[in-house]
Symmetry: D2
Subunit: 429 residues, 4 copies
């Protein structure tokens, strides 16, 4: 296992990687215009000055730009990962080389660490006794509410990025066990409509193509889950020519999937002829033992959900008679009956582990929301309820207008007559 401090790298390699990481950060930064704009404003207002912020996110280029933005706005920032496989090592190295005055930025993350090292890194981030936490998936917040309760008193609040994390936070809040306000970034339209759908859609395809070099066109693929992530994946698979079947437990979403042109079947049936299965449910055991038993020879398994429990990786590995890595992100498993199954990125989110994460322009919006959330907590953390807290609505509007302009598109505006008409009820046929 690689050392999280990169001690094993010789100086030449370290320099090459650092330079490459800086290039990625520059590139991302030049395209993250919404975060750029909001970041400048936040810096000027000064509410983050001197604040301690612990971040547990996927540390790749776009995340790096967020961390730099917060640090340059005056915060003391510690950045670690939220997943053992999702760090971009070049970015992790490069982030240490920027001048972030007036704040500070420390990073502790590397791709391919084990579970122990992962939790050591989370704890290292918490050791700063953060006032604000930026979380993705909920591990940081959970630690604060269990092993690190001693730190709770300093915490003003935080932001959570992902559906899975919000799901866990709401369960905590429902039990009255959430001890500080958590801004729900995922609830923002400009986050979940885009990050979860177009972001996951593109990055999952990117990850799978990079991992396999297989032809998406004509492939019989199954997408588990037709939430925002699942529909993004299904839409892009179809756009690349795949033949897609969807599985769902929510009947309303299932009917939507059908009317979007997808067969909807139970996983038990859909998986029998699948060349590729992608899970994006936020639930465990989607491809469990009973499903794995019926998979056809050559089937490829990938996960785009937050945790690595959607595919039963443990069953796969302990049952296989042979496990080897044929390509960087592909594990070949020969089952006792001779079938070859292929697991991508160890069942961890394939879009980050084998791909480069969401596109830059998407994360620009998501992280503009995170930056706004950090400032909000800094300003009003003590006033907000100890609950999952929605963002003010005008933030979506602000971000959308900035993004639209960056894309070279134009918005129409209502005339005053039209506004009057829309608020009246007396005019009819």
């Amino acid at each position: 296992m690689p050392s999280i401090t990169f001690d094993d790298l010789d100086e030449g390699m370290r320099q090459v990687m650092t330079a490459s990481g800086r290039g990625k950060l520059d590139w991302a930064s030049s395209r993250m215009v919404v975060l750029g704009k909001l970041g400048s404003e936040i810096r000027e207002r000064g509410h983050l000055s001197g604040r301690r912020i612990a971040m547990s996110l996927h540390p790749e280029a776009k995340t790096g730009v967020l961390a730099l933005t917060l640090a340059r706005a005056g915060a003391e920032v510690r950045l670690t990962t939220c997943n053992p496989l999702s760090t971009d090592d070049e970015v992790s190295l490069a982030l240490r080389t920027f001048d972030v005055t007036p704040g500070t930025l420390e990073v502790r993350a590397r791709k391919g660490i084990d579970r122990d090292e992962y939790f050591r890194a989370l704890n290292w981030a918490l050791d700063m006794s953060p006032q604000i936490v930026i979380d993705d998936g909920g591990d940081l917040v959970r630690l604060l509410h269990t092993e690190r309760r001693d730190l709770l008193k300093d915490v003003l609040g935080g932001c959570e990025e992902t559906t899975t994390g919000i799901h866990r936070l709401k369960a905590m809040a429902a039990e009255g066990r959430l001890d500080f306000p958590m801004m729900d970034a995922n609830d923002c339209a400009m986050k979940h409509l885009f990050d979860n759908r177009y972001g996951t859609g593109q990055s999952t395809l990117d990850g799978i193509m990079t991992a396999t070099n297989l032809c998406i066109a004509g492939m019989e693929a199954v997408v588990a889950g037709y939430g925002w992530c699942g529909r993004g994946i299904a839409m892009r698979l179809k756009g690349m020519g795949a033949i897609v079947t969807v599985t769902e437990v929510d009947p309303v979403k299932a009917v939507e999937a059908v009317m979007d042109g997808f067969r909807v079947r139970r996983m038990e049936d859909a998986s029998r002829t699948a060349s590729l299965i992608i899970t994006a449910t936020g639930c465990c055991d989607i491809v469990g033992e009973n499903i794995i038993r019926g998979l056809p020879d050559g089937c490829i398994l990938a996960n785009s959900g937050h945790f690595d429990n959607e595919i039963d990786v443990s069953y796969l590995r302990r049952t296989a008679v042979s496990v080897k890595r044929s390509r960087r992100h592909v594990e070949d498993l020969i089952m006792p009956d001779g079938r070859r199954l292929h697991l991508l990125s160890e069942g961890r989110l394939v879009n980050l582990a084998a791909g480069q994460g969401h596109p830059v322009e998407i994360m620009d919006m998501s992280f503009a929301i995170q930056a706004a959330g950090a400032e909000l907590i800094a300003m009003k953390g003590r006033e907000l309820p100890k609950d999952v807290v929605p963002f003010p609505e005008d933030l979506d509007r602000r971000i959308a207008i900035l993004k639209l302009s960056a894309m070279g598109q134009s918005l129409d505006v209502l005339t005053s007559e039209q506004e009057r008409y829309l608020s009246s009820w007396e005019e009819g046929t």
Copy 2:
């Protein structure tokens, strides 16, 4: 103008039309399985028995099946139209010939009536002093709150079908001027996600193709509005090969449109090279005088919004040097500078006036909701707030499950372990 009582028809024609209308009603009925199932249950429960229901909807085959369902459940029903151009005359005639015991059904509707006749028909429906109103667009409810206030005391409440109607009702409620509860059918997922999007999408394309016989593929089309209706239209236009530009005033929807692959421009710019403009905004003056001045020669104008004020028909007609009807649903207008413009269906909703309205399976879901709403009002109208009232959530689920099964698709189910996992927050990486 045709007589709303069809007195001008000779008996032979009347019989032919009636027979054709019955065929349409039989066909629709055989495919409306959700309404069929819920209708039987409502009849058995008996809450509609003897209730007076006034319906102002688009009287074509699917609406007819709803009216028959309510009447057969024991209600006294009066059905009239909610739009001067949207009646299917064959259905209007045929509906008079069914046995609806134990209830009664009276119909007063014809395609192509004028504004006076339209309001006479609405008033005729109200003359029954209804206890329940089923409205589409809000004209019936407005009449009850203005000219026909004397009838208010008997009204238990009603249901409203469409975005425009709900918009008006909420404006009334906000002013404290809504005098009975109105169930918000449009708020149901199984209504607005399907009726507004896939329904409007297909029926608008159907209407335009029927009206013009022109090639959608390669046509430069502009869709005004990217709400549920607008995105349905844009999606289907693209699916038929059109080159689509979208106009929006809401920046969040605008960014969605862009990421769905559509150019987003101001109407002023988009309209200059448009071969086809379709409005679906719920707002007035989308294609107003200043836009019309810049339209290219040959441009076709259609509206799928509820009211006929999205295109400024009056300006068009009074400015044109020549107005003639080249095809059944096409009006050719020669402008003073020689440009030919083409208005479809007099600017009234093209999907109903030139097409056959939404597909049967879509209206099956929408009208199952209306039937459930009528029963709810009958049971609890006096208890509900005088406001726009959402349906209970489980109705969506019920309808979705019935529809999914009718489509031959299958739902997955959570295991108890999965349910437990989804309600916990302690399991993480």
Copy 3:
């Protein structure tokens, strides 16, 4: 059965229908800019002056514009149908009312004639002893080579429109039994790439939606044949949200279908869960007895191939225990085991029988080719081989440039350096 001479119509109805037909012809004419341009040139060159032309095509508005164009260029034209169900009666009536000086135009066609009347009409067209024949499907040419061989001596040649007709002509030519040159309009890129694909695609969808008012989105549909017509239909079904399976006998086309995102199955398997089956193969017995036996309840059968033998209509009708027409273009057949099957337009091409045929702009190109073919035969018929003859290539280019400009699109042009580069072979890496 209606009289082909429309004697059964009263004068009022005749006038209404004629006026409506003229409107359709005016509308089509205003959008058929390529035929308009080429037609003027042909008229000026005068080669068609006094030529006798027999046309057997689908007599609807676009065909009418072709007939008018040829007559106005000086030809004596007789127009009849090539299919018992594809005439637009309003157009058939209206065509008789135009001034076509210097030529003449006679029409004999009505929707819904029987087989005897159909052949009487073909023979009536041949009675003029044509010099040029314009055929669609090959019936006219076959008659000339069998029962009407006496007329062969005057025939200079002709044009054939459709894949099926060309298929038959090539079989004749291969046996040395074709007695005059037949221009292969279908071979032109601007014909088969557009008419067969985008034309059939749109008009088939139009026909099915008009016939049934059912929801295409989410429907499990089977398309038989992935030739130009089949892929047009499959593409548009997908564009409207259907879940499409394709059947093919040609493995190359089958792999294309798969990579375009369609399941490819044998009809025997695909049909078992189909809600809709559309045939477009040019072959007989695609939905034959053994397939019909396995169809699910409620299945809808439609044909877009030239002849009505792709679905075994005769087996269906003689086996059904009940046959009735529920909607204008829908026949309900109750099978002995209780299944309800629905046949559209009696198994004849649904896009013409229930729809309005191909879009105007598509037929503009196809008929510009036919007009050019008629002139070519008039000029060089005696010199050309007695075979299926391709058009000169520059015709495609000419038509494409005119169409592109009509669509408001722009072509790039090669610089002289680029032209030189493209003809060299010495420049490489």
Copy 4:
């Protein structure tokens, strides 16, 4: 510049890369079922035994499998590259480690070599005095007809892979200057319909996403050329949500592009608002000086055509005031007026330089054709004309049937009655 013999690598790195290359070759091999099947048959027939084969292709995993197949069939094989940027170094290393008895396999290729080294490598391959040449782009064949004419006497013939190469060969043959037969692999349906369209489509998107991590959805993209490659790219860009404009010089293809839903404009106009331009024309100077002058700030330039002359890279670099590499495959050029332009992969084919080349299943078909071509030349090279020679038609059918079965799809078969019907001409309406 790296040494083509990899002398600069230390042994540890060499072993890691070799192991990774073997994994890629194993993976590709396991999915290349058509080449696997045809390769076995060729080996058994023995015609390649002892033949000398020089190959100039893109040396990555799928190409490696072809080289191994030919060598194992008994040939002496020398493999080099056909492009300075398209080698996969890991594969280049790994190929040297396989046992290819009874043949031999030598490889000389590395990513990032310069023009001199590139031509030294081609000449090294020719030094074996090949009997058969397998070429991609035509450089090998050109060398044999210019500087290496001394070797011509031994050459039996060869195969050419790509549109550009065939274009050059036909120009040579037209001048009577082609001295041996060249099999036209590109002419096979199973090559150009798939490799050029779905292959280039997917791999170009893969390359661009890998290079930039930018969001394809909502991006205004221009595709130059609507040949098989261009339409593959346009189709997949649209499938990923881009807003696509096409440029063409062929009016027929231009009309197809329009009806497929793309705007068609001159490059001069289309490029002004483009975020991304991709060239796939086979022609030079598509993005030349005059176009570059009008490009908007931030525009990204990529090429998927065979040669690197579609974008005027030399003008870009000599005009820019600053050139730096921000990401691995991205060159940032600051123009004198301050605009930033971004060139991907130095203007060389982005799908190979930044991506992994075409998907495995696609190259399986293309290389099965190449293997069949090599055998054909070995058997009949002396008999074939010194021209571009098409493959026998049944090869397409054979490959398609194997591929279809590998994809789990099923072909329908004609009954004998249907076959009879299809060959008759007497049956009609």
